[in-house]
């Protein structure tokens, strides 16, 4: 019995390590080929570390591709989206879980529709609306649709967290003479801090990757986001893999770095969302 379970343990470990390598290898390969020239990538040194570390690939990616600018744009859009989603979702969740009115369950279900609606299905009508509002070619052209599409998940998560806040707190604040706004701002919102991180992560995942909206709604190259920039750059260097690799690394590593430093926090928040949602 004991032997058996030891064998099983080793098998499990082997499986876990194997899957870990499957996940790490592409990142490793991407990093190494971003520092090689074509002959190395294509022939004599496919997997190994670069022989000559060709940092000039990065200069080219930064120079022609303007990756730094794209990264900043993506960061601005993501941050604003997270803030707006959070504010709107907290308010809505407060109305849906605390305030008393008849159809609130129905409305909650209505918002949950948003979980299943594909973002691309609304592309042209949203374009027309944004155009009428003179918002195309601004960060808002992305922030508003992204916030709307993140809303359902954010409400779902916030509902879970808010239901856990004891109603007695509301009661006592009410007795102390707080208004609805007072209770919301002074009692509920401070206690929702853990939800902030969770909503932030889910919203980030939703808007960091998006390609089609970002491509169509933004015409100024100074406002392009990372996915559009990476796609455009790889169109320009189809045959010169080094600079593409450099662009991919530049688009990826800052996020990964942040993630590795904050991984425990990020995972815990993500996990909290799963359980409460």
């Amino acid at each position: 019995m004991k032997n058996n379970s030891k064998g099983a343990r080793i098998a499990i470990y082997a499986g876990l390590v194997l899957w870990m390598l499957v996940n790490l290898f592409p990142v490793y390969w991407m990093f190494t080929f971003s520092l090689k020239d074509n002959p190395e990538i294509f022939g004599d040194n496919v997997i190994g570390l670069p022989r000559h570390w060709l940092w000039s690939n990065y200069t080219r990616a930064l120079g022609t591709g303007n990756m730094g600018r794209y990264f900043l744009n993506s960061a601005i859009v993501a941050t604003a989206t997270i803030i707006i989603t959070l504010v709107v979702a907290l308010m809505a969740t407060f109305a849906l879980t605390r305030l008393i009115w008849k159809r609130r369950r129905t409305l909650n279900k209505f918002f949950m529709l948003g979980l299943t609606i594909p973002i691309h299905a609304s592309i042209v009508p949203v374009y027309v609306t944004l155009s009428r509002l003179h918002m195309l070619n601004t960060y808002w052209a992305l922030i508003i649709p992204y916030s709307a599409f993140s809303l359902a998940m954010a409400i779902l998560v916030c509902t879970g967290f808010m239901n856990e806040i004891p109603r007695e707190l509301d009661e006592s604040a009410c007795i102390d003479g707080c208004s609805t706004w007072g209770i919301f701002l002074r009692v509920i919102v401070p206690l929702m801090k853990p939800a902030v991180a969770t909503v932030g992560i889910y919203t980030f995942l939703q808007c960091w990757n998006e390609l089609m909206f970002a491509n169509i709604f933004i015409s100024k190259s100074a406002l392009r986001t990372l996915p559009v920039g990476v796609q455009a750059l790889s169109g320009q260097y189809t045959t010169d893999w080094g600079p593409i690799g450099a662009a991919l690394v530049l688009a990826t590593f800052p996020t990964l770095l942040l993630y590795i430093f904050l991984s425990k926090k990020i995972q815990d928040s993500f996990v909290a969302g799963a359980i409460k949602g």
Partner: protein, 293 residues
């Protein structure tokens, strides 16, 4: 308190931003799409009302290939539930037992979720490159010369080649969701079962799985609707080609809207896609409820 919380004006104020955002960006466009799906329209110029003819053409025309696109995305959904989720579940169960290096494993498994889909697409384009891609280079190196393929260029392999990275990227996402569930199982339940002499497998089967059923349900819904919605990675890898072998409804919709100037037909696909996603989400909910009874 009750009176305070029943103030209609306040309720409206609290809901208004969410309602405006939600209706303006999600609901109204669906309405617009539903309306335009009844027309033969190029997007610009005059439009002709044709009733449900777009829907009929979509399901009957071979040259549009909607049924094939639908089959592809259903296959993706099936594989997602049949392969991706079990793998994620196995990883979550293995990691849920206080294994050494748990955090490191978790961190690495979640990494692909954080990498931009476009980056993953570009990376896999390089992996599959017929001449210099790592996959064919590897096959040649180990002497499996005749196993090498033009992975994204041949009808037989393209779909598989597109599905692999699509499934791979989100294993970590589901793993972390399920891991959360596994961790939330009260230790007492586990210990009691162990004392009764249950093996690891039995504990997993009779204690953990039933306990995390709600999370499995969420995972299944996300996996299925996510598969039906899938777009970015396929757009980068093949854009539906070769010869429509990897077409999914979203890529078909974009090509109708912007390449073939068939705005009415594009809207039709959008409407159907929404109904499909919604229908499947409902269906999964019902199935899980039934299995509980």
């Amino acid at each position: 308190m009750k009176k305070l919380y029943s103030n209609k004006f306040h309720i409206l104020i609290f809901l208004l931003p969410a309602l405006i955002l939600f209706c303006g960006v999600l609901i109204a466009p669906i309405g617009a799409s539903a309306y335009f799906s009844l027309f033969d329209w190029k997007g610009i110029g005059p439009k002709t009302f044709i009733g449900l003819a777009n829907y009929k053409e979509l399901f009957t025309s071979n040259s549009i290939g909607f049924m094939k696109a639908l089959r592809n995305s259903l296959l993706l959904a099936a594989l997602s539930v049949g392969l991706q989720l079990p793998l994620a579940l196995a990883l979550a169960l293995a990691l849920g037992k206080k294994i050494k290096g748990e955090r490191a494993f978790l961190s690495v498994y979640f990494m692909p979720v954080l990498i931009s889909t476009v980056v993953i697409g570009q990376l896999w384009l390089k992996i599959y490159n017929p001449d210099y891609g790592i996959l064919n280079v590897f096959l040649r190196a180990v002497g499996l010369e005749n196993w090498t393929r033009i992975w994204l260029g041949t009808k037989q392999t393209a779909l598989g080649a597109v599905l692999v990275p699509t499934l791979w990227q989100y294993v970590g996402y589901h793993m972390l969701l399920l891991y959360a569930g596994v961790k939330s199982v009260p230790p007492e339940l586990r210990e009691a079962a162990m004392l009764d002499g249950a093996s690891d497998g039995q504990v997993n089967r009779y204690i953990v799985l039933p306990y995390i059923k709600p999370i499995i349900r969420i995972s299944v819904i996300f996996a299925v609707t996510g598969s039906l919605k899938s777009f970015d990675l396929i757009y980068v890898l093949t854009n539906g080609g070769p010869m429509h072998a990897t077409e999914v409804p979203s890529t078909l919709m974009i090509s109708m809207l912007f390449l073939r100037n068939r705005y009415g037909m594009g809207s039709t696909i959008a409407v159907l896609l929404i109904f499909l996603c919604f229908g499947f989400a409902l269906l999964i909910n019902v199935m899980f409820k039934e299995s509980e009874e």
